[in-house]
């Protein structure tokens, strides 16, 4: 069946005139330029630094991918609505700081506390906090018709202010929060299972599992619920969605609230993963997440996107940056490369939908 299809495609290709052939090839090359670059880069890196393809490095890439997935899953929804969310990174920072301040043994922020509250309570608290920021974003976008860029730019600043004030509380005086409880750390970074290698074994951390669960959850929400269908409808044509009886405002607000909750989970994982949290935790995370979504085919055209695309996008981005790190490329240069990747991804995305006009 699949073979027949490929053959039919080959046949169709052969029948094209040479001019059409060139056009087809250009289309193919340019529309997949991002993937081609990444594949070439990976090949180059693995030749130069063979350790890159060894098991520890692969597990490292997968773990880092898992850590960055939830935030991308959240932002993906905002992009489907033709919006975006640049407050994401700061929300991650805020929730990481809250988790680190509560699930600690030192209690610098709350000097009166003596023992850490149950982990589940902290998790619920930060999910509510993330959802609240998301609600403010969503409400402003839905009701005041402000552009998500402007709205989330403001909330980003507000959240940053809150983080700084929060860190000044008690005896902490703006310092990095550390000294997390063992329960919290082992829940997140504990070993899920180990893969034995020649030189010992490589541990896969537990948060990989949590990320997988979140991916499944989001897939169900996007594909199997009324809310998901409505989200795509609003993203592809808001007016038509309104006429079709979709509650447009509610849908937009819910997308942003869900996104906020996802950032909260990211913050929760990150606090334990890095073993500390400060005002810079989560900085620029939204850039990576937006880039990953666009690479993964969540289009700014609106109404287009798949969860699988987001996963692939995050993974590819992680591979390329881990690879560049292996080649000891300076962090300053990485920012420039990241910016260029976002630009190229957008240009390619735009091209795909221009051609079809």
């Amino acid at each position: 069946m699949a073979e027949n299809k490929i053959k039919a495609k080959e046949q169709a290709f052969k029948e094209l005139s040479s001019k059409d052939k060139t056009k087809k090839i250009t289309d193919l090359l340019l529309n997949n330029a991002m993937y081609i670059i990444i594949i070439l880069a990976v090949i180059y890196i693995s030749i130069k630094v063979p350790a890159f393809l060894k098991l520890p490095s692969i597990v490292n890439v997968i773990s880092l991918t898992a850590a960055k997935l939830p935030i991308a899953l959240g932002i993906g929804g905002c992009i489907v609505l033709t919006g975006t969310d640049i407050s994401a990174g700061r929300v991650v920072g805020l929730t990481a700081c809250i988790s680190a301040s509560l699930l600690t043994t030192t209690f610098k922020v709350f000097p009166d506390m003596t023992s850490a509250p149950p982990i589940i309570v902290v998790l619920l608290t930060i999910i509510v906090a993330g959802g609240l920021v998301g609600f403010v974003n969503g409400f402003s976008v839905a009701k005041f018709k402000l552009h998500p860029f402007i709205v989330t730019l403001s909330t980003q600043l507000i959240v940053y202010g809150i983080i700084l004030m929060y860190l000044m509380r008690g005896t902490n005086n703006g310092q990095t929060l550390s000294g997390l409880t063992d329960g919290y750390r082992s829940l997140i970074t504990g070993t899920l299972f180990s893969i034995p290698t020649a030189t010992g074994s490589v541990a896969v951390p537990k948060y990989v599992l949590y990320s997988i669960l979140l991916v499944i959850l989001m897939w169900v929400i996007w594909n199997k619920t009324t809310f998901g269908k409505n989200m795509f409808a609003v993203g592809s044509n808001e007016e038509a969605a309104n006429v079709s009886g979709v509650n447009v405002s509610k849908t937009i607000i819910m997308v942003f609230v869900l996104a906020g909750m996802m950032y909260a989970v990211t913050g929760f994982l990150d606090g334990a993963r890095i073993a500390s949290a400060n005002a810079n935790t989560g900085l620029n995370y939204e850039c990576d997440a937006i880039a990953a979504c666009v690479i993964g085919g969540v289009s700014f055209v609106g109404g287009i996107g798949r969860i699988s695309g987001i996963v692939v996008g995050v993974l590819l981005l992680q591979i390329i940056f881990t690879g560049l790190n292996f080649l000891a490329v300076d962090a300053n240069m990485l920012y420039i490369i990241k910016g260029l990747i976002i630009l190229i991804a957008c240009a390619i995305d735009m091209r795909k939908y221009l051609v079809k006009k």
Partner: protein, 508 residues
Amino acid sequence: MEKQTVPSENKNVLLRMEGICKEFPGVKALDNVNLTVKAGTVHALMGENGAGKSTLMKCLFGVYNKNSGHIYLEGKEINFKTSKEALENGVAMVHQELNQALKRNVMDNMWLGRFPKISKWCPLTSEKKMYDATMKVFEELDVHVDPKTVMSRMPVSQRQMVEIAKAVSFHSKVIVFDEPTSSLTEEEVDHLFRIINMLRDRGCGIIYISHKMEEILRISDEVTIMRDGQWVATRPAKELTMNEIIRLMVGRELTNRYPEKDNKVGEPILQVKNLTAQYSLLKDVSFEAKAGEVLGVAGLDGSGRTELLENIFGIATRKEGEIYLHGKRVMNRNARESLANKFAMLTEERRATGIFGIRDIQANTTISSLPKYKKGPFLSDKLMSESTEWGINAMRTKTPSQKTQIRSLSGGNQQKVILARWLLTSPEVLLLDEPTRGIDVGAKYEIYQLILDLAKQGKTIIMVSSEMPELLGVCDRILVMSGGRLSGEVDAKETSQEDIMTLATKYA
């Protein structure tokens, strides 16, 4: 302004359009149209909505590329690519909808894109030159507007004067007026006509597009009438009467482009009382609709037809008025409520407010009836694809599969998908706004058949259309709107296009 009776035959031909044809996919919009405008005359262009007047003008200004035909300006063949090129060659248009930079002042708008420079060597724009030049044009036209007024602070009529002044400042030889009086008061119309007469006396050729018969007879020297994209007649205005014009405009034969009507009209189920809109001109509309009836709504563009449907469906803000279904009051404050009350609405702008272009057929079909497919908290793919399949079969939609993006379908098939979307909500009242717009003739017949089938199932259908033969062919009764009010109600079997046209211009 008394009508001038200059014999126009011996004047020079300024603009000649010959054998203009323009085709859109599936539709022949212009078929061999001729138009000759002589210098120093006002030439009225008339026709029903969609007769091809604006398409003809768009071909002149290069907005559309004509398929065949020639345009001559003062004997030289021209083929403008953009309206800027047209302007530079002395052909200007005063649009019905003003395209102006409202936040800028009058002279900025006048000289937009060609600001005068201080001198050849100094590329800064000269406010003074701009001001003087503007004042000069205004004095010529007897317009009393300070060139430094910000556009948005002026009434529409004055903004229109600025637009005319702009056309004059280009030393235009041919000026097209597209429905210029639709927002003017009696006095302003007089002023406009004084200006038009002055331009004519200077030797300009004026093309005047309007629906208003009295105006046409008052201002124009010659009248060209179009119908269905074809040229019908060009006559001196003094030989025409209002009735004659109406006859020429609508005088086409009804062929059996419509399916046989076999729906049975039942009891009245829908009452609309004193419906008045908050933000549009819709005023005090009351009517009744019966089960199994196809109720047409006729009227000119901007007569409030669309607004009527939007207000019933709750997607426009209602000021007052009540709607009763089966004697029970329904609020219909938004589309969701209307949906729950078993209303459905097919909107006029299919692309803008109908389809989800990049979504597939299934998503487009099921979006309004999603709760129906729930199994527990999740949607069932099986139920959704069954319903979609039903929609495709019932509407005879031609599509490769359910997973095809809707934008790759033809207009007619898109319309069928949206109809299926609404039928899946099992509505009792279907509001259809221009259900056959942009659809080829064959598909139109199928849509008519679907409408009548639905009526046979006892559904109430309210259908807005600007094509009068369509209304006469499909509807049982026709409401005629004019200037936002209901100007009459006629029985489709006993009325004629002439009657409807007269009613439609009642408050215009």
